[in-house]
Symmetry: C5
Subunit: 316 residues, 5 copies
């Protein structure tokens, strides 16, 4: 679907003008949005707007990192929105030239939708121009990273406290998946941060320079998200290391119980085995109090073993 | 609550002047403090002072990193004080312009309170101006990081020496929590350090340049806190690794005891079991000294096993 | 094999001209390809083209990193293609001077073959010159890295989900080999990325400056591959750490089962052993209900042990 | 204690002149040393020399990192000597101005003592001035780091080879303490290295620029110490990891022995138990060769088990 | 031993001229080599050449990192050759001034020997001057790093495949030693790389600038060696981690076997023990088929246990 908004010099908003009328004299600036475009709509990037073939190729393919390319009469931005549910990155491409902005995205982009609708409802267009649209879309896309990273952070806290009383296998699985999610997010956020840094330090984007404080506000947010991602990865590592230590400690305790029991009862069981043998000549068997003497000896052995382990500190 | 201090050109301090009188001619500089402001008080940032909307937005919201923004006629600082008890960061926002400083904080800030009271008690105002207030607040906020990180350091030493004879589970839990605290502190201190670096290298803050040595003193302290945090994180990692090694060594020793006991007594118990069987034809049973021969054989087996383990070095 | 393509000033393509005719007046630019050259062919780098001895030495030897060397009248590039099957790096050397490009490679290079054939099929030579060939070869070589790293990524996902139900030994072996492959790829990709950065920021390569957007497109791809390699290495590390944790947890559970069984049955087996002894005077044996009393006592002991372990949480 | 050395313009050394006479005309340069000063002596930094209050504050307090501060007419250095026994850092503060150097240290500083005594014994004062003293003190302080780090290195080698045949617990404890010592040293050496870098690249220290080669000699030594510290930390980590691996291998071997013994003897002990039961009707018991048949069966079982474990490679 | 080579202006090579004749008019440039010098020979660095005392001190002492120092009329280089057998670094010091090079080394240096002999055999001295000697020595020293690091790499591959069927203890020991060797090599190669970077970017070494491509060839090799060292360290880490994982998995399997055996036979052994007791009143004993009933019950118990473990997946 291709849709357009045009603002005329006498401050009127026109919706859904055909592409051909957009370059007419009375138009101050316009915004064209390619939303889930068909291949034939995509071709208009070339036939109507004559954008650079490399930029169009980047629109069609998917492997791009967020980036900024300068061409002769337009600038090309690739940004990555994060789908809050799947954590997949969804590419939004922007062409920005004198008096226009063209956006291109293969999926519906809720952040862009918000800006589009706000512009439609707007009465006064003083602050609005193509760079304001650019700023608004970036701002919404980046603002949207926060609920995602906060959700991950909450999830990590749940894992740490194990509020849902999950089994250890489930917890470790969740921890692993959380770490993978943070890795995925980082692959989006770092290039976005680098992109915004380039935008801020660019000498060729007048519209950015005029509202530098607005774009550095976004950059600050990107720095913050980066830091949150790193901290959360360290946190998950800490949880895992901590669990490993605890587990290894617990294994040792379990081993000690087993060893104490075995060390006490194995010799005793051997002794009672001896007097269970059926040899015809075993003189002790016929002594009147031999049974009680043997019981006493075994009791003393058990006590001594117990004291030995106690001195080793195994019952602390 | 909004409160004010104004210093007049004839070196008088006026307390709690209404906001409207602050811009009068006789006033050399003034300080307005928004402490735990109501929403309607917050609005005065806009209506009375006309600060930039982005800065006001940053005051209202909480997700900011410490930062510095230049606007046309004022500079906006966000700093983070650390609450000594909860380790939570508490935002202090400062607006600094020609002849005034405005501070804004949603919680009572003890460091700022100290500066406010010292200024009230002051007799001579030679060294005091809006930048001196800025320096004093930064200095107090940063000085306050030290007792916190030293407390953590002491706690780590307690964990290492286990002076309170805590159980291993408790120690590991404390180690984990300490690491999380250090992570939290780092999230505050690193951006504060970066902020102070930007303040120091700024070309637009004359008041800072004039007292550069004072601000670099704060920067040195921030570097020091950063280093302490890193060292302490490495230290906790070391304690955990060291514990893991010791534990794994101990598990091995425990296993060896169990194995020695089992290896000696299992064969012996088997032998006595053999002669406890009730077959009607077991010729050995009727030999006169068979019992003693079997005892002797078992003794020799036990000795041989013992020597074998001794040679393996398991009794070192 | 040495083969040539020459484009004349009147836009004709000549194939397989002898090397001597290439410098003739009518030729606008030419491309000479040394594919799997014999030693005597290699000598022509010196005798026919007079390239710098250091560059020729680098062609002959193999230990080079991708690199860029400026000599008086030519530039020398070493790039590394990756063999998709063996993951081995295969060196492609390029000499670029005014009006010519010379390529040299000891193995057949499919990426270069593609460019050669496309040029042969070309009808119009507007965009083609020696720098376009340079760009095309670089582009194909780098594009070829992606299927390799994606194959590794898929393999890692297979390992994680263990879709093929392999034994743990096999999985760990595969994980190790994957990490080694990523290490090998990184040894190629990082120097290629550094090389492309140097090419982009060079002041001496006019032909690159004219088509900067094309070369930075390649640089972006190299950045992306680098990031993918790093993420995948972290992912494999995560899988291994996660497995270690799970395994250590499982060992602990196994130990607990063993300990519960031993702790319950060892004392009981001892007791029945006691009453299996053959002493002539064991008064309990003759009590009428002694057998049932002993059975009852053993049952109580077993229940108490069970409850004790239950309270320890070993049956959760 | 405050002590002084002054060199007059006619190349005479005067010892212990009162502070007031030091600024007299005939004096070319002087050195004042505050060694373990009393509070009233410390006050003279302010009353006699009028040093900057921030610098004096840094002398009195202890939390400083090594640093360099420029004030209007003097430069202030903080360096850290290492106490060879305790590894504690001991602060040495230096004020350097035109024609004088003032040193301040709360503990006796053997490195400074050396320089002081050498100057006292000197006959010719050509090379000596306030910057030469500065260099000499820095040089001695840094030279003193080497024996400390070499002692640690030797200690690590002792731990690795375990020449003293210590118990594993002791070795791990020593390894941990060594790592803590390296961490402590690093906290001193890194800031000293950064300080020396700043001194070398300073544009305001003429006396340093004149003898740049001497100061970069110290910088080289600091780089070297840093590298030694890092290598030694990696080495200790390697020793620990290596020990963990070996230990985990050994635990596995121990487990295998236990499992072999249990797996062979538990079934056999069960079988002999069966024929030790006292049922009145157990037909096998009365077969003439049943006993020998059972012994044979048990022998076969034991052999089979043994072969099974052998095939698993547990006896390699 | 001190030996000399001098090239005269008429392109003659003179061997072993006394040091005094070297500065004569007809000499174009000369090379003096101090090989395993005696203390009195070392003194000639000062008495004959008047080199800077700091440089001479660095020759005599051993703790230097590779480095470059500029003095008024000469440059001083310290490079480190690696002894292929012991992996020890052997210092080679070079003084380079207008028309001469002086080399100083306490051990015989085979790389330098090669250059010396090649120069002696040379017929034409066009390319040879003091900087060519400098380049040749650096080149040989660095080329010599490669066989060493390749030998380590091969050794790591042997360890990984365990081609020699060594015991695990030996393998882990070898892995540890290999890591230590790589650490040692890195301590040499990193400073050499930094040194070469400084040489390349120096503005004071005309002789280097003239043959920049030759020196950057060496720099490339140093980068390559650095990368190889890092990769190999990661590889050894990977082998160890991989071994740890496998081992921990194997321990778990061993534990499972032990637990299965114990869990099946301990209850059975208890049951047979019960019927081995000698109570006078045990009604079951006299039942005719009680023995077979008990055997059946025990068989059922064993089967149930087996199925339970099977369901837990312990026999996969
Ligand atoms: Mg592209
Ligand atoms: Mg796209
Ligand atoms: Mg935003
Ligand atoms: Mg928490
Ligand atoms: Mg998963
Ligand atoms: Mg915002
Ligand atoms: Mg904001
Ligand atoms: Mg706020
Ligand atoms: Mg302070
Ligand atoms: Mg300590
Ligand atoms: Mg907790
Ligand atoms: Mg202070
Ligand atoms: Mg080369
Ligand atoms: Mg080659
Ligand atoms: Mg490409
Ligand atoms: Mg996944
Ligand atoms: Mg393999
Ligand atoms: Mg492409
Ligand atoms: Mg201070
Ligand atoms: Mg001090
Ligand atoms: Mg020194
Ligand atoms: Mg060693
Ligand atoms: Mg200790
Ligand atoms: Mg020295
Ligand atoms: Mg680790
Ligand atoms: Mg030196
Ligand atoms: Mg030396
Ligand atoms: Mg070489
Ligand atoms: Mg391999
Ligand atoms: Mg060793
Ligand atoms: Mg070479």
């Amino acid at each position: 679907m291709i849709r357009t908004i045009a603002i005329t010099k006498d401050q009127q908003l026109h919706k859904d003008l055909p592409l051909e009328q957009l370059k007419e004299d009375g138009i101050m600036w316009f915004w064209v949005d390619f939303s889930e475009p068909t291949p034939s709509e995509t071709q208009k990037l070339d036939t109507v707007f004559q954008f650079h073939p490399l930029a169009i190729e980047d629109c069609i393919h998917n492997l791009q990192r967020p980036k900024l390319d300068y061409y002769d009469d337009h600038t090309f931005f690739v940004m990555h929105a994060l789908n809050a549910k799947t954590l997949e990155k969804e590419e939004v491409d922007l062409f920005n030239g004198d008096g226009y902005i063209v956006t291109y995205h293969k999926h519906v982009c809720p952040e862009l939708e918000q800006v589009w609708n706000r512009l439609l409802r707007e009465r006064s267009f003083n602050v609005w121009d193509e760079f304001h649209v650019l700023h608004q879309i970036f701002d919404k896309v980046v603002d949207n990273y926060f609920p995602i990273v906060y959700a991950i952070e909450d999830h990590i806290n749940d894992i740490e406290d194990n509020t849902k009383e999950l089994s250890m296998e489930t917890l470790l699985e969740q921890l692993f998946d959380t770490r993978a999610d943070l890795l995925t997010m980082r692959q989006t956020v770092h290039p976005m941060r680098d992109l915004m840094y380039r935008i801020l330090s660019s000498h060729r984007l007048d519209g950015v320079r005029e509202r530098k404080e607005y774009f550095s506000d976004i950059y600050d947010h990107l720095l913050k998200v980066s830091e949150l991602i790193e901290s959360n990865r360290e946190m998950t590592q800490d949880i895992r290391d901590s669990y490993m230590s605890l587990n290894s400690h617990e294994t040792n305790r379990t081993m000690q119980i087993l060893t104490v029991i075995s060390t006490i009862f194995m010799p005793l069981t051997f002794i009672v085995g001896v007097y269970g043998m059926n040899f015809s000549y075993m003189p002790e068997l016929d002594e009147r109090y031999a049974y009680f003497v043997v019981l006493l000896i075994m009791f003393v052995i058990a006590i001594l073993m117990f004291l030995w382990f106690k001195r080793k500190g195994w019952f602390d």
